[in-house]
Amino acid sequence: MDWTSILHFFRGPFFTFSLLFFAAGMTYRLIRVLLLGWSRDKVPSRGSKAVGVAKSYLKGVIILPFIPWVKRTFRGNAMTYIGGGLFHLALLAVVVFSTPHMMVWKSLLGFGWPTLPFPVTDWLAAVGIVALVILLINRMTHPVLKLITKAPIWINWVIVFLPFVTGYAMTHHLGLRYESLYSLHMMAVDVLLIWIPLGRISHFLFYFFSRTIHGAQAGKRAVNP
């Protein structure tokens, strides 16, 4: 086996398999949760649930890291906030707004969008890697995180870290030859796609559940989520 064939495998059939596994797995989890049963909320609201939900997302995405009353929480969890925030920013920039990844989306969706200049995504990718390392150190040292982190969460970290670091190495031709690094990157991505429905990275989907519930609960009581 040469690297070119390995690359073909991980960009080709195995990627397809991973993607389909991902689609099937996520649908499975979604349907399983949806069909667990939802009782209608019969309690009359004081405020608007819709407004609450909207505020919930706004806060979840934009305001959370900057509001003053989080200071206390922030002070005790600076690494989580900074690491987590930067990681997700990097993730968005790299996965959605870097040229190579946009071309992946384009090939899958049939349309593309403007991307960020390479130096920007490149630096953000580095930031993402650093953020992940910060998060790892945090997870290894913070008493609460030590307590609640079981094997699958450590695996999560590795599986998320690998595409980042292989992608970065590949872009900069670090160490191995390009197609070797590209193969490793695709291998890591494929594994990630398969792992997502099995682990907690799927929170990107259930985020919409909990965030909506949170907003609706606050909204119906007419308080800020």
Binding site: V33, V144, K146, I148, H203, Y207, R221
Partner: protein
């Protein structure tokens, strides 16, 4: 059979609402820093995520394919009796179900209600702390967790009416409002009754208390015992139906307001057309409508602050009413603690914790944070709209030998009436 009962309760409890949120957790651990129990103890086991993990474990093992597979292969981590006992201490003594954690959770998971579900399973397994359960049993048998019998109650009401020269109508049919007090108020804060009676009188509101639905608190609700919760709620709803009132006014009690206003409708049939409201809202409405007039700046000396009760403010929604009242009553003296409003810090006595003797040390330790908060703004007085908080504050202030005065807002309103 503890395990089985707990597991059955969890299996019954877990629906999409629970599962969707359990699935969303990323194990970031931020909820820990929101929890006052974790903050004072630095014990990671008080992290809300850890408290909920019992439910999560049940979910993983029974509702997911891999979990079931692991169970079938005998690889799953079983939930042991020891674990249940440990969790009983964690979620009954080390959690006030204040839901502050949900406010910092990046995913917005409603950890409070989920811990409530954890409690339900432990209750089904018979693992409720003895003090708490004793109160529940008392409420079931006698009608009051404090053991106030019907006769005692009648006597006490009559005594208050006589002593403070107020009219407290009992079981009066055809009135608009049924007011329900808690035993704590009746036995420890009678001025609350007096204040309500005076305000009602001033506002010319027709009202009554009921001997059948005389207790607003609901210890079964603390336990998460759904059937018993309904039974207790039904006593009041039954009375309201019988008396033909238009609304039920919950007095200064937090969890009761949560149970009546936000929970009852979803777990049982509630009488239609009867509004459930809280005394702070009623008083506020009277004031706004001009049915009572308050002396502006009545408390405008020193520094007075307001404690947001988790069940009435964060989980109840009555955030602006007390503030507007205070802005009138103490325009200069009123000062906010930080954090406040939806983000406020729990007093540490809610969720039934205050009734558990073994939790006293922890509960008072937690209150230290509240003292610190108040000291920071130099508060000389603090008011609130929850008797449970008030009891905790009273004990806590005494414990910390702080001179801060603890007051009920209704009482303050009454005293500022012109």
């Amino acid at each position: 059979m503890n395990k089985q009962s707990a597991m059955n309760a969890y299996i019954k409890e877990i629906g999409g609402w629970v599962a969707g949120q359990l699935e969303a957790c990323t194990r970031c651990g931020l909820c820990a820093s929101a929890c006052h129990f974790y903050q004072v103890t630095d014990d990671p086991e008080y992290a809300p995520v850890w408290k909920v993990s019992l439910l999560g474990q049940a979910y993983q093992q029974r509702f997911t394919f891999l979990g079931r597979l692991r169970q079938a292969l005998g690889l799953g981590r079983p939930i042991t009796d020891e674990a249940l006992e440990k969790w009983s201490k964690l979620v009954f003594e080390g959690c006030t179900v204040c839901n502050k954690c949900a406010m910092v959770c990046p995913m917005g998971i409603q950890l409070g209600p989920l811990i409530h579900d954890v409690r339900a399973g432990l209750t089904a397994a018979g693992l409720v702390p003895a003090d708490l359960h004793a109160a529940t049993v008392k409420q079931d048998a006698i009608g009051s967790p404090l053991g106030v019998t019907d006769d005692a109650w009648q006597e006490r009401i009559d005594w208050i009416a006589e002593e403070w020269e107020v009219d407290i109508p009992k079981d009066k049919k055809g009135v608009d409002t049924l007011v329900v007090f808690s035993s704590i108020e009746i036995m420890k804060f009678p001025e609350n009754l007096v204040a309500v009676a005076k305000i009602m009188a001033k506002a010319s509101e027709s009202w009554t208390v009921s001997s059948k639905g005389r207790e607003v608190v609901n210890f079964a609700f603390f336990e998460g015992d759904r059937e018993l919760t309904k039974k207790f709620l039904n006593r009041v709803f039954g009375a309201a139906r019988e008396l033909g009132v238009k609304r039920i006014m919950i007095s200064e009690c937090g969890h009761a307001y949560d149970a009546f206003r936000w929970t009852a409708g979803n777990i049982m049939e509630v009488p239609k057309g009867i509004e459930v409201t809280h005394v702070v809202r009623v008083v506020y409405d009277f004031w706004k409508a001009g049915r009572i007039r308050l002396k502006k700046g009545a408390y405008d000396d020193g520094t007075i602050t307001f404690h947001d009760s988790c069940k009435i403010q964060r989980r109840g929604g009555h955030i602006k009413e007390p503030r507007e009242l205070l802005a009138w009553l103490a325009p200069r003296a009123f000062k906010e603690m930080s954090p406040a409003r939806e983000q406020s810090l729990c007093c540490g006595g809610g969720g039934g914790v205050i009734s558990i003797k073994e939790a006293d040390a922890l509960r008072l330790a937690v209150f230290g944070m509240k003292v610190e908060q108040m000291n920071k703004i130099g508060a000389q007085a603090v008011c609130m709209v929850c008797s449970n908080c008030r009891l905790q504050f009273t004990e806590g202030v005494a414990h910390y030998k702080s001179g801060i005065q603890v007051r009920g807002l209704t009482d303050m309103v009454f005293k500022a009436m012109e």
